[in-house]
């Protein structure tokens, strides 16, 4: 530590973003006695719909040193192998965006080219057939991936569905145990330095004034510090992502066995999520209010539940977009205060994580070098745009003619880079490796089928490739058959978990 080092961090807002940030910073600075304060108010609710995640969450828990079984018990978590997209692209469509590869690349040519050739030559098998994660998900099976990289049972990845409110609660205990100080209160005023506009302190409704070197805004959509104080502009993306409302309701579990995947079902003007937890199923309907009334949206949601609703439906209003600068002066926005993208690809918690990770990577000193925050902002923007374009693609690539919403989505113009990427995929099947997720699975799932496959595979005969694909599918089926049901697997973990001390 020297005289330029940050010594006090103030986090405002105690939802998922606030407590994830507090826990990660506390862990990082444990050896150097950093002063970390989190201000939150019992009176303010959290949004907390982000109950479905992508595999990166495991890295975050690992970093904090949280035992997985304990986490599962504590947050009522279940396993997730991917997202099933129903009626996307066109009515009746049903594909999985899997956590794991499709087949294997052979001779440096990606698997989907082989699949494509077989389709052109008459085969009808869906791409899902060649994904371990997709096939296991459909069968309701799960076990931890094998550590033997030669085994098919290692050829997938996984994430969780969990109760975000319980997760935040747990992280609060975690952070408080390693010296994060929680203060109950609502921000009444923010005091800026009159010379440079930096935040010097915040005053709470209780009258307490809190000074700090670095302020982190986790106040959700309001963005109390970053927006009202620093006037950071918001970039509106709602002309591409037209859904602006959501209605959420938990319901009783279905009679069926646990499904280890998130269900995203396209509706007439939006889509519905289904996220099974241990004790209930989370449901929600994301829709575009220009095309659908709140009553209609609620009716669609309530008609499509597995079981009895367990609470009154809750409405949310939002706007897709991102604040131009998530880091401005000595204030960093993490979570919804920085930007919002609908949870179609379960990226809400991931985006929080990226913000935290990059804050740690670019942790400032009191000089707050411009070059440092500029690079933080650039990298974060890049991540937002990458995911934004990926989500837009789900709407754009569709052949539905059953509702004005889908027809308008089909006809909308999309960001240039996305249009270019889609044209490239259509004309060559080429996927840029920096793209999000299993890009080819989603393109093809949506109905964007490349015109050609990589001609280099013409060196193999039709029969050779057909036999090879059949073998992969057969091996996957056999591997899936050997796996336990996800329900049984999680029951076993819970039975063996000692719900004792968290740390």
């Amino acid at each position: 530590m020297n005289q330029h080092s940050i010594k006090k961090i103030v986090i405002v807002g105690g939802g998922t973003a606030g407590w994830m940030t507090a826990a990660a910073l506390a862990k990082k600075f444990l050896p150097i006695n950093m002063d970390i304060v989190l201000v939150e108010s019992e009176a303010i609710g959290t949004v907390g719909v982000g109950e479905s995640t992508i595999p990166h969450i495991r890295g975050f828990n690992e970093y904090l040193g949280i035992d997985e079984s304990f986490f599962i018990a504590e947050t009522k978590a279940t396993f997730k192998l991917g997202i099933a997209f129903k009626h996307w692209g066109q009515l009746g469509n049903d594909y999985i965006h899997p956590f794991g590869p499709l087949g294997h690349d052979i001779n440096g040519v990606e698997f989907h080219h082989y699949w494509l050739r077989m389709q052109q030559e008459g085969s009808k098998y869906p791409l899902d057939n060649y994904s371990m994660a997709a096939m296991a998900a459909r069968a309701g099976k799960f076990q931890h991936p094998s550590t033997d990289s030669m085994s098919l049972l290692s050829n997938y990845n996984y994430a969780f569905h969990f109760d975000a409110a319980l997760y935040a609660k747990y992280l609060r205990r975690y952070a408080e145990a390693i010296n994060v100080k929680r203060i109950e209160g609502i921000v009444a005023a923010t005091n800026l330095n009159s010379d440079n506009g930096f935040i010097e302190s915040i005053r709470l409704d209780s009258g307490i004034t809190l000074g700090g070197d670095l302020f982190i805004d986790c106040t959700g959509f309001k963005g109390i510090l970053i927006d009202k104080v620093l006037n950071a502009k918001f970039e509106d993306w709602s002309h591409w992502l037209r859904c602006d409302k959501a209605i959420a309701v938990p319901c009783a579990l279905s009679e069926e066995k646990l499904t280890p995947y998130t269900q995203a079902t396209a509706q007439q003007a939006g889509w519905q999520w289904r996220i099974p937890l241990q004790h209930r199923t989370g449901n929600g309907h994301v829709y575009a209010s220009d095309y659908l009334s709140d009553d209609e949206a609620a009716a669609i949601l309530l008609k499509n539940l597995d079981g009895e609703p367990l609470a009154e439906p809750k409405f949310f209003t939002f706007k897709a977009g991102q604040r131009k600068q998530n880091w401005e002066k000595n204030c960093v926005a993490i979570g919804l205060s920085g930007g919002f993208l609908e949870p179609l690809e379960s990226t809400s918690i991931y985006l929080i994580q990226v913000g935290i990770q990059k804050l740690l990577d670019f942790f400032p000193d009191k000089n707050f070098a411009k070059a440092n925050s500029a690079e933080f902002n650039r990298q974060l923007d890049e991540e937002y745009v990458r995911i934004r374009d990926f989500i837009i693609m789900h709407y754009k690539e569709n052949a539905r003619e059953d509702s004005p919403f889908w027809m308008d989505c089909k006809n909308m113009s999309v960001p240039d880079a996305l249009a270019q990427r889609q044209k490239l995929f259509k004309s060559t099947g080429y996927v840029d490796h920096q793209q999000y997720g299993v890009y080819a699975a989603v393109c093809i799932g949506q109905g964007l089928i490349p015109d050609v496959y990589d001609f280099k595979i013409n060196a193999f005969s039709h029969h050779k490739i057909a036999a090879y694909l059949e073998k992969i599918h057969g091996n996957i089926n056999a591997a899936v058959a050997s796996m336990p049901f996800a329900q049984d697997y999680i029951n076993r973990i819970l039975a063996n978990t000692n719900q004792g001390k968290p740390l």
């Binding site: 942790f363 000089n367 070098a369 070059a371 440092n372 004309s427 060559t428 840029d432 920096q434």
Partner: protein, 483 residues
């Protein structure tokens, strides 16, 4: 029709044309490759990055072939003489320098140490750099060598040509007379020196800087980098390597008028002097370097890149696509990378802008990263402000490099690069080695006291010292390696 092209004609019989011919034919045996073996001026020697072995492997060659048949020689480091204000030299090496302490990266704790000890030199922490200084080999005979590799261009070309004999490559030993475009602006056919007409689905322009196809015929402009890389003249001399001991490193010597590069091979040393005309002219007659090169060959070169290297049914490679100053990433290496990327975007009869654009965008990213790495060499001269010559101060920095440098100098962090050719650590090590020490170190380095880092540093140096003592003399190593 959306059918992949199966017939490619390469124009230009230099090293890069021949590399393209062999690489394409080996990678996709069922296509038809022909090469118009027209004359292209090649230089004498280049040094390939360590991972070039992967490319060699794709065409069935190994490092051993290069060493044996092209007067090849390993380079464990690139030595910089005269680039540092301290007067120290710096041996830049690809290996080592990854000694993280706990979670503290090498470059962060070394920064912290240096605050109290300005004598710290980062090349003391690289086995390859230390070995290169002492003329020893960090390589083991029973292991695959991982090191940069210098070679004689003419001999490698001969090797590739003999190789091509077995590959059913159609060799046309003629010069280029004319290029004819069709109404859409595609190349329709070319006319060879005997008035014969050659047609193909796709053409590769490996004709050198003039870009006989892509520029002269198709009119794709060249983007000059002369504001950033102002040199455009060099003198080349080849002298016999007379010392009985081989030299296992390349070197760059900064002078008042330019810089001198020497690439030692097994039997000769290729020296290139990159200089500014006006400066050298002014001091002519009293300059030892000018005297040395008095019988050398004069070569002009033009740093820059082709605005689009893939245009319609033509791909530009080599000097027709890009030229830089020669600090790193040799022309053959860049050509090989370009071609490998091209394989993934293979053209079809129906042309797609999306494919062409994406390929050109990617290659531009790569090329400009390489350019920026080159520019860093000039930037450090100005940052240390030790050159009295105003010439150096007039050299501009590309905006992208300025951004990178600001971030580095303010925070000690490297900018992650979209380029696949440069690892962020390469930027850091080169910058630190050439004397750019950031203003502050990362907070994480303060987790431990200086004493702990001093101890750690001493233990690294001791273990390097110990392993150096057991290393073989490089000349002996190479003898055994070949046999």
């Amino acid at each position: 029709m959306n059918i992949p092209v199966k017939k490619i004609l390469i124009v230009g019989g230099g090293l890069i044309g021949w590399w393209a011919a062999v690489f394409l034919k080996k990678s996709v045996p069922n296509i038809h490759i022909s090469i118009l073996n027209s004359q292209v001026e090649d230089t004498y020697a280049e040094t390939l990055e360590p991972n070039f072995a992967n490319y060699l492997q794709l065409i069935g060659l190994t490092e051993q072939h290069i060493i044996k048949y092209t007067d090849g020689n390993f380079a464990f480091a690139q030595a910089y003489f005269g680039w540092l204000r301290t007067g120290n030299n710096y041996f830049h090496s690809a290996d080592g320098l990854s000694f993280d302490y706990d979670a503290v990266e090498f470059n962060q704790w070394i920064l912290k140490l240096r605050k109290n000890d300005p004598s710290i030199k980062i090349d003391d922490y690289s086995v390859s750099a230390v070995a290169a200084r002492l003329g020893k080999s960090p390589l083991r005979l029973n292991k695959k060598p991982i090191a940069a590799l210098s070679f004689d261009l003419g001999l490698l070309k001969k090797l590739l040509m003999s190789y091509a004999l077995d590959l059913a490559i159609d060799v046309i030993n003629k010069e280029l007379l004319a290029v004819e475009l069709d109404s859409a602006g595609d190349i329709d056919f070319i006319v060879a020196s005997d008035a014969s007409i050659l047609t193909s689905d796709f053409y590769i322009d490996a004709s050198g800087y003039t870009g006989d196809l892509i520029a002269k015929a198709m009119g794709v402009a060249y983007e000059s980098w002369s504001a950033y890389l102002p040199f455009h003249k060099k003198k080349i001399s080849v002298v016999p390597q007379q010392d009985s001991r081989l030299i296992p490193f390349t070197s760059l010597q900064l002078t008042q008028q330019g810089w001198l590069k020497s690439i030692p091979l097994k039997n000769k040393i290729v020296c290139e002097y990159i200089y500014d005309d006006a400066l050298l002219g002014a001091e002519n007659g009293k300059n030892a370097i000018a005297d040395f090169f008095v019988n050398g060959q004069d070569v002009n070169f033009y740093p820059g890149q082709r605005q689009k290297i893939w245009h319609k049914n033509c791909l530009a490679m080599g000097a027709a696509a890009i030229t830089a100053d020669g600090f790193s990433h040799s022309p053959l290496y860049l050509a090989a990378v370009t071609l490998k990327q091209f394989m993934a975007y293979w053209p079809s009869h129906q042309q797609f802008d999306a494919v062409e654009n994406e390929f050109n965008r990617l290659m531009r990213t790569e090329y400009e990263s390489i350019r920026d790495l080159h520019c860093l060499h000039y930037a450090v001269i100005n940052m240390q402000a030790f050159s009295t010559n105003t010439f150096w101060r007039e050299i501009k920095l590309p905006e992208s490099l300025q951004y990178r440098l600001d971030l580095f100098m303010e925070t000690g962090r490297a900018l992650p690069d979209e380029s696949t050719l440069l690892h962020p650590s390469q930027w850091i090590h080169l910058a630190l080695g050439l004397g750019c020490w950031p203003r502050k170190y990362d907070y994480i380095a303060s987790h431990h006291s200086d004493d702990i880092y001093v101890q750690y540093s001493q233990s690294i140096k001791a273990s390097i010292q110990a392993s150096i003592e057991n290393l073989p003399d490089y000349t002996d190593y190479l003898k055994s390696y070949i046999s």
